[in-house]
């Protein structure tokens, strides 16, 4: 196996803009460009303008300029126009890149413009993205162009339906498992990893391998059958590898989520204990930074902790559930400076233990997929009171900008509340793709979930899958919710360890083959000598 298809693969799933490009790349384009030429819904004006080469070049050039301008511009821009006129009869919305045709009086779509928009935004973002530690910039995106062999294979390959929507049977109070599996199935990064055969269960030599279970799960979900599927072997493997999850008892979905992440990480090829870049850590891992400032001498002590998800309190400091809870208000509460008591902290510099300090939490590294849990189940530490469920409503948005909660933004805030954070704003934008709900009480409840495919929402209740709407999803009382970064970027020139590990395995296997061969030859030689 050569390295080139692998590097293009990483580029492929990195470039996914979740709304516009979810279909399998590489298979569709030839078909769609043929149909769009004869599409009666296509705007005739833009077609006629594009027929003239010089006019087309003019429009394309201007389009590029205005889109690049919008992407580049930060908060100190001098120009007001959001929609810029490109050329009669079209103008463009620089935020979305949509082209408005004034003769049709409507937005029009054109393949050339679409491609141009994506490539322009990408190139500006690549130039502007800075890393906190690494000096080098972002690794440039390379589109996947099928080589001769690959296009021959593609020609004969049967196309798989690109929608994976299948109900999951309840195997006896296993709705906690079903909702988490649905959130994995709709996670674009996990989906791309397993659908591109990164972990082939037929070649894997491990037993009780959760990665193999994920591989099998995706095979089932994307198979032509659409009757509900029973994830029996996933459940069996979970029981075998983790004692606390076994048995038919009701489980907490979040606990299972963490267990599953650890199991997948553990069975991933090339996973490591520190700074792992297995698929789980590449997808979910971020970092918190906790700064403790000594009130006396002003020394700041920072500690960095890894995170896979964020657990948010629904209650405010006073202990009552806040009246108007939103995801943003929970995050603000989470990252608020907090006074530490006199005995909780001793400054290393002024060494006197008895004075006050302020602790502040912030997000140092944002992961590509952000998962939030709202603490709805409350276990009282004192007394024998039964655990309680907090039913307080929470409002979550379809998309959220995470910039205000990052360490970078907090350190640059200060002078008259002005926030300035480096890099394009789009690098902090996240879109919702799955929500998990819990109905009922603490010990006899039921889990359901919502999940998005492209721009449509569906509700999953074990084996029942029904079309839903955005407002139904947002109005449901979330227990967990998952957001994916709108534009992904990669660390500069890093090779995932699963590729390194696989290459090492191949080398080792080849060496073993050679040794075997040498041993066999030696045996033959020995036999010959003995005969003589």
């Amino acid at each position: 196996m050569s390295a080139s298809p692998d590097s293009t693969h990483t580029a492929l799933f990195g470039e996914e803009s979740t709304f516009s490009n979810e279909a399998h790349p590489g298979i569709e384009p030839s078909v769609s460009s043929d149909t769009s030429e004869n599409d009666i819904n296509r705007c005739s004006h833009i077609t006629s303008v594009f027929a003239d080469t010089s006019a087309k070049a003019g429009i394309v050039g201007k389009f590029k300029t205005v889109v690049a301008w919008h992407t580049r511009r930060t908060h100190s821009s001098l120009h007001p126009a959001k929609r810029r006129k490109v050329s009669s009869p079209t103008c463009v919305d620089t935020k979305s890149g949509s082209v408005f045709c004034s003769e049709c009086e409507d937005f029009v779509f054109d393949d050339t413009i679409d491609d141009l928009y994506l490539s322009t935004v990408l190139s500006v973002e690549e130039q502007k993205t800075k890393f906190q530690v690494e000096k080098r910039g972002r690794e440039p995106y390379q589109p996947w162009i099928p080589t001769g062999d690959e296009s021959i294979i593609l020609k004969d390959a049967a196309t798989v339906p690109c929608q994976g929507r299948r109900g999951l049977l309840n195997l006896g109070q296993t709705c906690f498992l079903n909702v988490i599996l649905q959130s994995f199935i709709h996670n674009p990064l996990l989906r791309n990893y397993f659908l591109s055969d990164r972990h082939n269960s037929r070649l894997c030599k491990h037993s009780d391998c959760t990665c193999c279970e994920m591989d099998n799960l995706f095979t089932e979900i994307y198979s032509p059958t659409n009757t509900p599927f029973g994830p029996t072997s996933f459940l069996a493997t979970t029981w075998k590898v983790s004692a606390e999850m076994s048995g038919y008892a009701q489980q907490d979905a979040h606990e299972f989520f963490i267990t599953a992440l650890n199991q997948i990480h553990g069975t991933c090829r090339g996973s490591t204990n520190i700074s792992c870049n297995c698929i789980i850590h590449q997808t979910f891992a971020g970092q918190f930074q906790s700064d403790v400032t000594c009130e006396k001498c002003g020394t700041v002590t920072s500690t960095i902790d890894p995170m896979l998800d964020i657990s948010l309190e629904l209650r405010s400091k006073s202990g009552e559930p806040a009246a108007d809870n939103t995801l943003a208000s929970c995050l603000r509460r989470y990252t608020k400076p907090e006074k530490l008591g006199a005995r909780e902290y001793s400054c290393s510099k002024c060494t006197k233990a008895s004075h006050e300090a302020v602790k502040r939490l912030s997000i140092r590294t944002l992961p590509p997929v952000l998962s939030f849990q709202f603490k709805r189940f409350e276990h009282k530490t004192s007394g024998k009171a039964a655990p309680q469920k907090i039913d307080a409503p929470i409002r979550i948005p379809l998309s959220i900008n995470m910039a205000p909660y990052t360490t970078l933004a907090m350190n640059t805030t200060g002078k008259d509340g002005e926030t300035g954070y480096p890099g394009p704003v789009a690098m902090y934008e996240y879109d919702l793709f799955a929500v998990i709900n819990h109905e009922g009480q603490m010990d006899n409840g039921h889990y359901t979930n919502f999940a998005r495919f492209q721009d449509e929402w569906y509700r999953f209740d074990d084996d029942k899958v029904t079309p839903s709407t955005l407002s139904d999803c947002l109005a449901s009382n979330a227990y967990m919710c998952f957001y994916v970064k709108r534009h992904l970027d990669y660390k500069p020139y890093v090779k995932p360890t699963y590729l390194v590990a696989r290459e090492k395995d191949i080398v080792r296997e080849q060496a073993m083959e050679r040794e075997k061969e040498a041993a066999r030859m030696k045996e033959v030689d020995d036999a010959l000598i003995a005969m003589v």
Binding site: E105, F107, T326, P397, L398, S399, T469, S471, L474
Partner: protein, 98 residues
Amino acid sequence: MSKLTSEVEVLHVEVHRRMIENGEWDRILHLLSSKLSESGWADDLLHRAKENSRSMDPLSLQTILQELLSHAQTSVPLSVKREITTLIKQFVREQFEK
């Protein structure tokens, strides 16, 4: 009468220009859009626009705008409206005191 409206217009253009040049326009716009998103206003409008357009034939931006405009204007949360108006008033006051 016409003189009066033209005076208002001139003033509006002037305030608008100063706001943009000083960066206040972008700051307020950014704050407004994040407030509208947090309050659920933006998502509600998106939902309505999408559900309305599902059955619309022929599909047209103008029709969607007509259907939603009055609802969009009246449903802006009062607290957001107040906060943004205060900011704008404050800016205008500062500009004229100088």
